[in-house]
């Protein structure tokens, strides 16, 4: 088959509202499903799947009529889900050509690709069409693909065909001849006229004499005839696809169980990873957004240490994040938005120090946080303050401190404190303004030596004011054990506390 220079492929997904809702919900694919739109109770069927069509459901049916069909699953149309699915569809077709024009009509989603010159990349048009259809199927779409050297012929054939159709050059009229005339965007008056004339197919329209047709129906009739013959020229208007890794799923009933949520989440992660991998990218972060019952919103972010394309790993992080921070109400919709990052490549060395594997460490830290709490795991960072014991927790990451390892101070045998958190209130007996004995209610200590006081104060301008008096105390218990501890008197409240032990 010899093709002209111009060559177009049209990817067409019929019943797109139904397909958009079903692509992430594998459990519904084996059920007859109809999608309703409009305000209750005047909702009508706008889209349906093949099984519903076999049950006798047709577009335009009212909810009451649809509900009378046993076993039919009714879903509400979701514009957001369709928008997300539309973006995914577009993302899939951009892998085959940079020049794409939108050709969606009604409840369908269609894109026409300019595939001229792609033979060396994807092989003959049949192979390209097969790969394009398989790619869309992987993303969860059931689409038909038609290839033709005429833009409109490809679009019309894709809308009517199932599977793959390749129209050879100059044979467009023959391939389009059997298609119904309803595929043309005719107004009611002209559609009725053609019905009266007995013109039902594009082939019959193409056979009519052009001059007579124009004389009776006006100049637009020439365009219809050219369209029916597959000869209407077209000026290609390419669009620019925005690369956004986002998946959205609205649930028909509020979801309370995490397992059900993860069941959808895993499919969304699969799609995101697949789309990122198609551009040789990985997922650097994952933003989880949920719309909850009662108008609440839920938002969390998952940031693995390294960008990854490991589905199981991302799912585990999502599972742990949801376990640590469960949504406060039932979930109405789930959105996963990912940031793409370069796939991480780590050069390992024979003499490199042994460190935890970053991806495994992420899961371990997430598990630790689930056990102990969000703010209880990490690396301590000293605060720039004179307040005793001031520090904050920061996320732990392998390699973040390796650069400063050499600058760390030399090893010292320094008296270390062992903090009592929260500080234990103690009763102190003073002799000559120095601690002589103290007790915390359980144990009593006799002070052998007390060194101090060391006074510190600060933040007098804010609520975090402190004014303390520290004493280093060597004390003996009744059992004869010796301890060295840090006693602190809060001067603002005149309270004594056992802050720490020297250990």
């Amino acid at each position: 088959m010899r093709m002209k220079e111009e060559l177009y492929a049209c990817a067409y997904a019929a019943e797109f509202p139904a397909q958009a809702l079903l692509r992430l919900r594998a459990e519904l694919k084996s059920e007859p499903v109809a999608v309703l739109e409009g305000r209750a109770p005047q909702e009508t069927v706008c889209s349906l799947n093949r099984l519903a069509h076999l049950r006798g459901v047709s577009p335009g049916m009212t909810r009451l009529e649809a509900e009378s069909i046993p076993g039919l699953r009714l879903l509400a149309r979701s514009v957001e889900t369709e928008a997300a699915a539309h973006a995914v569809f577009l993302e899939c077709v951009t892998h085959f050509s940079p020049r794409i024009e939108a050709a969606s009509e009604g409840t369908s989603c269609a894109f026409v690709l300019d595939i001229a010159g792609t033979e060396r990349l994807f092989g003959p048009p049949e192979a390209l069409a097969a790969r394009l259809r398989a790619s869309l199927a992987t993303a969860g779409f059931r689409a038909s693909v038609a290839v033709s050297s005429n833009f409109h012929a490809a679009r019309l054939k894709a809308a009517s065909a199932r599977g793959i159709a390749v129209i050879p050059h100059k044979q467009e009229a023959g391939f389009l001849a059997k298609l119904p005339i309803s595929l043309l965007d005719l107004d009611e008056e002209h559609a009725e006229t053609f019905a009266i004339w007995g013109i039902c197919t594009l082939g019959e329209l193409a056979a009519l004499p052009e001059n007579d047709l124009v004389a009776r129906l006006g100049p637009q009739a020439a365009a219809w005839r050219a369209l029916a013959r597959g000869a209407l020229p077209h000026t290609f208007q390419p669009i620019e696809a925005e690369f956004a890794l986002r998946e959205f799923c609205a649930f028909d009933t509020p979801v309370e169980q995490m397992d059900a949520l993860l069941f959808v989440g895993v499919r969304m992660i699969d799609c995101l990873v697949e789309r990122a991998a198609a551009r040789a990218l990985s997922l650097a972060s994952l933003a989880v957004k949920m719309e909850l019952e009662g108008g609440l919103a839920y938002q969390r972010a998952i940031r693995p240490a390294l960008a990854t394309a490991d589905r199981k790993f991302l799912l585990k992080l999502l599972q742990l994040e949801l376990a640590a921070h469960p949504p406060q109400a039932a979930v109405l919709s789930l959105t996963l938005a990912a940031e793409a990052g370069q796939s991480s490549q780590v050069q390992l060395g024979l003499f490199a120090p042994q460190t935890p594997e970053p991806s495994r460490l992420d899961v371990t830290i997430a598990r630790l946080k689930a056990i102990t709490g969000e703010d209880r795991v990490g690396s301590p960072v000293l605060e720039d303050s004179h307040r005793p014991g001031g520090f904050r927790m920061e996320g732990f990451a392998v390699g973040s401190g390796s650069g400063s390892a050499k600058s760390a101070v030399a090893n010292r045998k320094r008296l270390a404190l062992r903090r009592v958190r929260p500080p234990a209130p103690v009763r102190v007996q003073l002799r000559a303004l120095r601690p002589a004995a103290f007790g915390d209610g359980e144990r009593s200590f006799k002070v052998a030596a007390a060194y101090g006081p060391w006074r510190t104060s600060g933040c007098w301008w804010s609520a975090g004011v402190w004014d303390t008096e520290e004493w280093d105390v060597l004390a003996d218990t009744a059992s004869g054990a010796s301890v060295a501890c840090l006693l602190v008197r809060d001067c603002t409240r005149n309270e004594w506390r056992l802050e720490a032990y020297y250990d």
Binding site: T372, G389, R414, L415
Partner: protein, 257 residues
């Protein structure tokens, strides 16, 4: 002459074969990797330092130098670019002391357990259970050169309830991931799973001009050393069972520097 000595040795070993296997042949000596604690007196006592890939216990009451010893060990490990973890049952670690001891805090993963953490489904885990679960996770994850399990504030009667199977599992995991698991406690807990037990005790505090606490002396002795880790001293010398060491306060260190 040597051949006759060898023949004699083989003959004696053969005759004693039923009672002793290879009676006159020295047992093969396994060299175990150790990591220094950074305290020369303790390292001498241990024959080089704490075992890598094994459990070491540091037991003693409060103010017996357990935390100082552990921080010194962790500081040495982080200085080599290695990553360490501190599982803190009592939330007692003082970050300032750690930094002053030379620990690179960015390479220290600190897990602060608490008595009732709000976790999924609202189930609070007792602090000790959290500690053991966290230790298990970190040991299984691998990559940590040292892991300090700080049970220093846990009452011995509670610590004794930790099943031996748990310590055995920790020992296996530590050996597999080449992690030095250092257990700080008031009493030895790991029993046969511990490669070495150091028993610490306070000796006395030293003051400078009787006005400031300048340093503290500690005593440490080896309570139990697994046979495989014991390095025989040179003939005729007795290994000192007790070592005394001293830690100084921060301002004193600054003065010396």
């Amino acid at each position: 002459m040597p051949s006759s000595v060898n023949a004699l040795r083989i003959q004696i070993e053969h005759s004693l074969e039923r009672r002793f296997s290879a009676a006159l042949t020295p047992a093969p000596h396994t060299i175990r990797e150790t990591a220094p604690t950074g305290i020369a007196e303790v390292d001498r006592l241990l024959g080089g330092g704490l075992r890598v890939g094994a459990i070491s216990e540091v037991a003693g009451p409060e103010s017996s130098g357990r935390t100082t010893l552990a921080l010194s060990f962790v500081a040495g490990r982080t200085r080599e670019g290695l990553v360490c973890a501190w599982v803190d049952a009592g939330d007692a670690l003082d970050a300032e002391s750690a930094a002053a001891s030379g620990v690179n805090l960015r390479q220290l993963l600190w897990v602060r357990c608490r008595s009732a953490a709000p976790i999924a489904k609202g189930k609070p885990w007792p602090r000790l259970d959290q500690t053991l679960r966290a230790t298990d996770l970190l040991l299984q994850a691998g990559g940590f050169a040292a892991l300090v399990l700080d049970l220093g504030g846990t009452a011995p009667e509670h610590g004794m309830r930790i099943p031996l199977a748990t310590w055995f599992r920790f020992r296996q995991a530590a050996g597999r991931t080449r992690c030095s698991l250092l257990v700080l406690a008031q009493e030895p807990l790991a029993q046969s799973s511990a490669a070495v037990v150091l028993e610490c005790a306070p000796r006395r505090g030293l003051a400078d001009c009787e006005t400031v606490l300048s340093s503290f002396q500690y005593e440490v002795r080896t309570g139990r050393v697994a046979a495989a880790t014991y390095t025989a001293p040179a003939a005729g010398l007795r290994k000192p069972p007790v070592a005394t060491w001293q830690a100084t306060s921060q301002w004193q260190q600054g003065k010396c520097a």
